[in-house]
């Protein structure tokens, strides 16, 4: 199937089509939540073509960006130009973050990557994210979610052609997460803020690793 093979070329266009252009606001919100103060050490899981990476850098963060696809990383580097040298690029799958040292980051950002993972992978990655954060560290996850109630029905109707378009353009099949905040809580985080876009179908969840009480 030819159109799947050149996916990274069309990834950004596909994403814009799926989200009716709202993806830029989402990227910005993730970067703002993750890079709360200049100099913050941020791990970005699934950096894709580097849209969030670029915004994190612009906010003065020290970024480690991870993606399993060499083609995506190449495109992210190209997007950032000179600034790409300031990023630690890791060509790995999200499941390999267990090799990174404990409490090495002030924030973890995951934008539109969780919905491409299986539920087992999501559980694993969120637990690991907790381990990688310093106490008080922040998690910013954004993704496609399934809205509830009447909106949910509307969402399903709207989503069918969008999903098809995304599949044709970007070769990406994503599965909206049913309960993003719930999965974040289940991994041991305290959720501090939630935001939604596009009739509630895009969601940002900001959460904290709580301060270790025993350590005080």
């Amino acid at each position: 199937m030819r159109w799947l093979e050149g996916a990274p070329d069309r990834y950004d266009a596909g994403l814009r089509a799926i989200t009716l252009g709202r993806v830029a606001a989402l990227h910005q919100a993730v970067a703002e939540a993750a890079a709360a103060q200049p100099g913050a050490r941020v791990l970005e899981i699934g950096c894709g073509t580097g849209a969030v990476t670029q915004r994190l850098l612009a906010r003065g963060a020290r970024v480690t960006a991870l993606d399993q696809s060499p083609e995506m990383l190449q495109r992210a580097r190209a997007r950032l130009g000179e600034a790409a040298q300031r990023v630690d690029w890791l060509e790995r799958t999200a499941a390999e973050i267990d090799a990174l040292p404990e409490q090495a980051f002030d924030a973890v950002a995951i934008s539109l990557a969780l919905s491409e993972m299986s539920s087992g992978e999501r559980r694993f990655v969120l637990r690991q994210a907790l381990r990688l954060l310093v106490p008080g560290g922040r998690l910013a996850v954004a993704d496609e979610v399934r809205p509830r109630g009447a909106r949910g029905v509307l969402f399903r109707l709207l989503r069918a052609p969008q999903a098809l378009l995304g599949w044709l353009l970007a070769g990406v099949i994503s599965h909206p997460v049913a309960d993003l905040a719930g999965e974040v809580r289940e991994a041991g985080f305290r959720v501090s803020a939630e935001r939604r876009w596009l009739a509630g179908s895009l969601q940002l969840v900001v959460a904290q690793r709580e301060e270790d009480r025993e350590a005080r």
């Binding site: 093979e5 083609e71 799958t93 099949i173």
Partner: protein, 376 residues
């Protein structure tokens, strides 16, 4: 299984076979087959629903752990070649599926056809699992496992026999007849039955006869299909409208079905003429007799030397004995630890193993440009 469950399984199998060109994702993760324990074998496959069901069925009577790796809901061979089932996906599945908490060993059997995308040695380096490429077909898994990993030539080779041909015909016939039948129903409901018949008959002809046609076969086949459909309509007493729609549908369907014939079948050497100009070249100086190529080649193009092992290094070198059968999947190049294999062209251009590994089968043409094919 209850009768209802059996019926449901049979219906799903039929539906997914008929529409197997579409992705049919199933949740990746761990499945227990039979009653496996901490010493049972671990078998890996992609998350294509049809394959997962067939692997489970093939493993009936065997106690094993089945790790379903994410492959975008696409079958193993296409997913591996298209970059959807690679080393990362296998590493991720082994680490996150929970299989590490269930077994004491770290050995897994991979489907042979994922060898174009998954580097067995990289899997081991990145997560500690030792992997081997098992048989091409799930049906051979029980014999393979029982023998402790002995792979016969039949287990290593891709087949395109009556069953595979009929399956491909069905998987093209179903969507074609839906589209053509749907269009006919909108315009002239009376034409639905004959046009659906045509949409089922043409794929059957393509997947049984096309590879046996001589040169200029695309034009030949299309012309014959148009003439044949026209003649049948005329013999049945159809009017001008019927004649035109039959001939038009036959032409359009023939064009479509023969367009990516090589991509739908394992009998041709690459999808495009551009690809067929490349061949696998062996650098004998580098070959150390590891035989990964021999293990993963789906057309058994390689032959091991007959001399006893342990002799001089040059006696252990592999030989490309059947280059004519090569389908240019690149699996041998991807797996060779000595980088002794590469794609080469008559004009001296070359694509190095590292480029093949990174860019998978992103069309040889595109890959040769993007990945910087070097000129000798």
């Amino acid at each position: 299984m209850s009768l209802a469950a059996r019926l449901r399984e049979a219906a799903l199998e039929g539906l997914q076979t008929a529409f197997r060109l579409a992705p049919w994702p199933t949740e990746p993760g761990l499945r227990a087959v039979g009653r496996p324990d901490e010493l049972s074998p671990v078998v890996v496959t992609g998350n294509y629903a049809l394959t997962v069901r067939r692997v489970r069925r093939a493993l009936r009577g065997v106690d094993a752990w089945l790790v379903v790796a994410p492959s975008a809901g696409i079958n193993v061979w296409c997913a591996a070649a298209g970059g959807h089932l690679g080393t990362s996906q296998v590493v991720s599945a082994l680490k996150t599926s929970g299989v590490e908490q269930r077994v004491r060993h770290r050995r897994a059997v991979l489907p042979q056809l994922c060898a174009t995308g998954v580097q067995a040695r990289e899997v081991s380096r990145r997560c500690g699992w030792r992997t081997r490429f098992g048989p091409v077909y799930a049906d051979d898994l029980p014999a393979y496992l029982a023998s402790g990993g002995e792979k016969t030539e039949a287990m290593r080779r891709v087949r395109f026999g009556v069953r595979e041909r009929l399956e491909m015909a069905a998987s093209w016939g179903a969507p074609c007849s839906l589209v053509v039948g749907g269009l006919a129903w909108l315009v002239r409901p009376g034409f639905v039955a004959p046009l659906v018949g045509l949409s089922l008959a043409l794929p059957l002809l393509v997947f049984t006869l096309y590879d046996r046609l001589p040169a200029a076969r695309r034009t030949t086949f299309t012309a014959l299909a148009v003439l044949g459909a026209g003649a049948l309509t005329w013999a049945a007493g159809g009017g001008t409208a019927a004649l035109l729609s039959a001939a038009g549908a036959a032409g359009a369907l023939s064009w479509l079905l023969t367009f990516d014939y090589a991509g739908s079948t394992p009998v041709e050497g690459g999808s495009h003429f551009e690809e067929r100009a490349w061949h696998v070249a062996l650098d004998l100086e580098r070959c150390q007799g590891v035989y990964s190529c021999w293990e993963v080649c789906p057309e058994a193009c390689f032959e091991k030397p007959t001399a006893p092992a342990g002799g001089r290094p040059e006696d252990r070198r592999i030989r490309i004995a059947h280059a004519d059968r090569c389908v240019r999947c690149g699996a041998c190049i991807v797996q060779c630890p000595m980088d002794a294999l590469a794609f080469e062209r008559e004009d001296g251009r070359r694509i190095e193993p590292e480029a093949i590994r990174r860019y998978k089968l992103n069309l040889l043409g595109k890959r040769s440009v993007d990945a910087g094919a070097s000129s000798a």
